[in-house]
């Protein structure tokens, strides 16, 4: 029935627990987390010190060893590797699993038809842009009169749409699952964790000397560099978040559009591309994290 293209830049709400809204990307990342935890518990229950490990143990050892060597090649110090490795490996595995779950059959296509009315904009050809989740929540609670919603849609879409249809009543399709990292909330959270961990590691290794990276009163030049470093830290948060979000969300849009135009055979190379992009983006996030951790723990004397 839904022969229209459904692309929404923010994750839609599928359930509410009190005042907390559960979005579809939150559900998918919960599934990814539970898969990871289940795998870890399974390996742990079967862990044996033997020369002929079982398949599961072999797989886990391969993954852990590859990631450990990767971290060690950047830090060149066993003590720092042991400290950074859990967080970095978790970043890699969590982001990888979230990216790949977005390609799984059923994610994005299985959903519920909700009957709330909310302003929709009809673009040419039949691309249906969902309004941000905030507005649909307002409509769910307030059930505001359709006239103002229609005007709001016209005002917003004035520059973009060629044909505005005001309020669109009828069932709207809300996907039940959506890639966890295709939601800006998840990626901003991951970026915040990474940057805050950088500062924490810096303080742990250099104690208060770490502040000399940002407040350096030796001469005006280093003071200016300190200010730039502060701005760089905030830019890192934005950069981490948008790099991951942009790659995965753009991949989702690409797959949706291709599947909408030519459903057979043509999406295959794009699925391959998306699998590779998922691996590369997870690797880049983890690698950049470990590089920044390492740079934060090296003392700032070599300038």
């Amino acid at each position: 029935m839904a022969s229209t293209l459904h692309i929404s830049i923010s994750a839609e709400t599928i359930a509410k627990i009190g005042a907390l809204e559960i979005s579809n990307s939150m559900l998918t990342s919960l599934i990814a987390s539970s898969l990871l935890i289940a795998f870890a518990l399974l390996v742990r229950s079967q862990l044996r010190q033997t020369g002929r490990p079982t398949m599961i143990q072999n797989l886990a050892e391969m993954i852990i060893e590859a990631l450990y060597n990767l971290v060690e090649s950047i830090t060149n110090s066993t003590k720092r590797t042991k400290l950074f490795f859990p967080l970095v490996a978790t970043f890699f595995l969590f982001i990888l699993l979230n990216n790949w779950l977005g390609l799984f059959p059923g994610v994005g296509t299985i959903g519920i038809l909700s009957n709330e009315e909310h302003a929709a904009v009809e673009l040419m050809p039949q691309v249906q842009a969902a309004t941000p989740a905030q507005e649909s929540v307002n409509n769910m609670e307030v059930n505001s009169d359709s006239a103002t919603d229609g005007e709001y849609a016209e005002g917003v879409a004035g520059g973009v749409a060629e044909k505005v249809e005001g309020v669109h009543e009828g069932p709207t399709f809300v996907p039940l699952f959506r890639a966890g990292t295709a939601d800006l909330n998840t990626t901003i959270a991951l970026a915040l964790v990474s940057v805050v961990a950088t500062q924490a590691f810096g303080f742990q290794f250099l104690h208060l000397g770490y502040l000399k990276k940002y407040l350096n009163f030796d001469n005006p030049i280093t003071f200016f560099v300190g200010i730039l470093e502060t701005i760089l830290e905030f830019a890192k948060i934005i950069s981490f978040a948008f790099r991951l979000f942009g790659n995965i969300f753009a991949g989702e849009v690409l797959l949706a559009v291709i599947s909408f135009l030519v459903p057979v055979i043509a999406p295959m190379p794009f699925y391959g591309l998306e699998i590779i992009v998922g691996v590369i983006q997870a690797l880049v996030f983890a690698l950049l994290s470990v590089v920044f951790f390492n740079m934060a723990t090296v003392s700032h004397d070599d300038h």
């Binding site: 830049i9 950047i74 691309v127 842009a129 948008f242 790099r243 942009g246 849009v253 590369i280 690698l287």
Partner: protein, 71 residues
């Protein structure tokens, strides 16, 4: 200038710089590997890292284009 045109130009101009940057980066990386094949894996890791930084700029312009189109 129609809205679709501005969206397309956002992506076109925003992708030009990063594409050039990644090209130069990978060229230098390959040259370095050619000179010193033993350090290939270290060079490759840093090359991928640099390419990810450069690609992030293209992704920013992609996000702007997507927001313009769908919001």
């Amino acid at each position: 200038m129609t809205p679709e045109f501005s969206i397309a130009m956002t992506m076109a101009l925003g992708g030009f710089g990063p594409a050039l940057a990644i090209g130069i980066l990978v060229a230098k990386g390959l040259e370095a590997i050619g000179r010193n094949p033993e350090a290939a894996s270290k060079i490759q890791t840093n090359m991928i890292l640099g390419a990810a930084f450069a690609e992030a700029i293209a992704i920013y312009s992609l996000v702007v284009a997507l927001i313009l189109k769908f919001v």
